[in-house]
């Protein structure tokens, strides 16, 4: 429940004032409908107000409508920091650096895909490793892996795993330039260099979905994004930087704990909120290492797209481009990026932390692919494997949150509770009866991801629209799923 000092600004915006906690430099703002606010656990409010105490924070400490308790920052947390006076915090990015979503169109309809859905899902399950300890098909040296972590999707283009259009339709064009692999530990490389092209587990998935005519909210914008025919089939997948990113976050969290208070005099509230000044040697080293994980994650999703194109090409006996396998967009969830925003009447350079939150640039902004610029950045919000997901677009009023919106539906049930309530095998059968064919590497993992363990995705999307953070374009419903 929200604390008693939480003030209603409007139906989807709530504010916790600076007086709530000693040391808060800005108020905290939570975007949520009343039911979503009520479903948030108390840690969300403690965490979002802890973030408000960090040096150099600009405007507000934000939480998105799908917010739930995280480490340091809440999941759904967003905070921008002045690049000269502010901090960088691994807790504001998460262990799975650049965990993100990619959406890919096809020119196929459900009527064309339905007879081959089991074959497609089975082949994708074989080609895109999922689950504990999954290894990818690329045989890379550690040195080559370090190179790709600096080059991102440009490396994929050179190696034939991408086409230029894929880079053009990825946030940051699939490469953050300020990446320096010399700032990454041996252990991080050892954990990640065999994992390119793998999904991982937990809430990671690869899904075949359908855009049904009744679920198109804005036909014109859907058409601009490449969804232009009834019952069009698309693919959506969710994964991140695997062991590589997890180790970079672990390494620098421990390094920041050593200097945060003793060297930089930043008060200590929560070890997961460890941070260092952005301009400090420690802050810059983490930024450059973290950017390597962002790039690696872009490569991971690109190599998965390469495998998807291979599978569709084999099953339908056609070239992937003949099948319309064009990427719609790729968004990141867990990052800190330097962006220029209007703040206090001036354009300022800010380090924007988004943890379980999505950038949602408005129509006309630089950084959006040319073909989408008039309608706004595509935003992909993933739901549970039962309820569907959304494609949305950024809006002008997103300026209020430095153009940030939600990323998913957010859990409402613990993993053990879900395992007690559902059996993976029963769920698989029930979903098949509902027309969703699933392959999983773990039945217990499948039970943990049951639709009932998540918030109502429609309610989350309505809240982002009502709050003026993004607007829905089309809801996509699952017909096939590979669960990590």
């Amino acid at each position: 429940m929200a604390p008693s000092g939480c003030v209603k600004i409007n139906d989807t915006l709530w504010e916790i004032p600076r007086s709530y906690k000693q040391g808060m430099k800005v108020p905290a703002r939570i975007y949520a409908s009343k039911p979503l606010l009520d479903s948030m656990d108390s840690s969300v409010f403690e965490q979002v107000t802890n973030v408000a105490t960090l040096p150099g924070i600009a405007g507000y400490s934000f939480c998105m409508p799908d917010g739930h308790s995280g480490y340091g920052f809440p999941i759904g947390g967003m905070a921008a920091f002045d690049t000269d006076t502010g901090v960088i915090s691994p807790g504001g990015i998460g262990f799975d650096i650049n965990c993100g979503m990619r959406l890919v169109a096809t020119s196929l309809t459900w009527e064309e895909v339905q007879p081959r859905i089991q074959q497609l899902v089975d082949r994708l399950f074989a080609r895109v490793p999922a689950g504990v300890g999954g290894k990818g098909f690329l045989e890379l040296s550690q040195s080559e892996f370090r190179t790709l972590s600096e080059q991102g999707m440009k490396w994929c283009l050179k190696k034939g795993y991408a086409i230029q259009e894929d880079l053009d339709r990825t946030e940051e064009n699939g490469c953050i330039r300020e990446a320096d692999a010399s700032k990454v530990s041996e252990r991080a490389v050892e954990r990640g260099y065999k994992q390119i092209g793998t999904l991982g587990s937990g809430n990671h998935y690869l899904e075949i979905q359908v855009a049904k005519p009744e679920n198109i909210v804005d036909q014109k914008v859907a058409g601009v994004f490449g969804i232009d025919r009834p019952n069009q089939v698309v693919l959506m997948f969710h994964c991140g930087s695997r062991g590589f990113g997890h180790q970079i976050a672990t390494d620098y969290l421990q390094s920041f704990l050593k200097v945060m208070q003793s060297k930089y005099g930043i008060p200590f509230r929560d070890r997961e909120l460890a941070c260092a000044p952005f301009i400090s040697p420690e802050g810059q080293d983490y930024f450059k290492a973290m950017n390597c994980a962002i790039n690696m994650s872009f490569v991971n999703r690109q190599v998965i797209l390469h495998r998807i194109r291979e599978v569709f090409s084999e099953v339908f006996g056609k070239d992937p481009m003949e099948l319309g396998l064009h990427q719609i967009y790729d968004v990141t969830h867990n990052t800190a990026k330097v962006e220029r925003h209007l703040f206090d009447g001036k354009k300022r350079k800010l380090l924007v932390h988004r943890k379980g939150a999505t950038r949602a640039f408005a129509p006309g902004m630089a950084g959006i692919p040319r073909e989408y610029r008039a309608v706004g950045q595509p935003v992909i919000i993933g739901g549970s494997m039962e309820t569907g997901s959304y494609l949305l677009a950024g809006v002008q009023s997103g300026e209020q949150s430095f153009y940030t919106t939600a990323h998913g539906s957010g859990r409402t049930m613990g993993r053990n509770q879900a395992k007690k309530q559902f059996r993976g095998q029963d769920l698989e059968k029930r979903l098949l009866e509902q027309g969703i064919y699933i392959r999983t590497s773990s039945y217990s993992g499948l039970a943990e991801e049951a639709g009932a363990a998540y918030k109502d995705i429609d309610e989350v999307v309505r809240a982002t629209e009502s709050a003026g953070l993004s607007r829905p374009v089309v809801k996509l419903v699952p017909v096939g799923n590979i669960k990590g």
Partner: protein
Amino acid sequence: MSYRYRDDLSMADVAFEAEGTSLEELFTSAWDATLRVMIENPSALHSNSRRSISIEDRSIDLLLVNFLQELIYYKDAEALLLRLEHCRIEGGTEAAKLEAVASGEQIDAKRHHLGTDVKAVTFHRFSLKQEGELWRTTVVLDV
């Protein structure tokens, strides 16, 4: 040696409480709890590969966190799931040193009932303390 999972401490991830009559027992329980998240039938692991673990840290908290990180490291770097054979801890709650041996085998999805991948050991709600005769810890794993 024992542990139990606590949904009420973490909605999205995995929290557990472990206890032991010595630090060695406590660390072993915490290792077992972490391994059990990734494999439901750890007894199916054959002891084909053996790894020695040697860690020193400035606090017992960090020693436990970094000890559990070893299990996660071998899972990713070598696709190995390891059961703990024994561990020995020297030092107190400040500077402490650990020597351990773990054995297991490469992940085999046909024989191993796999669970959820563990990404990291967090400091969220972390505690390690002695209560009477028992050492207790609370750990949240990012999955």
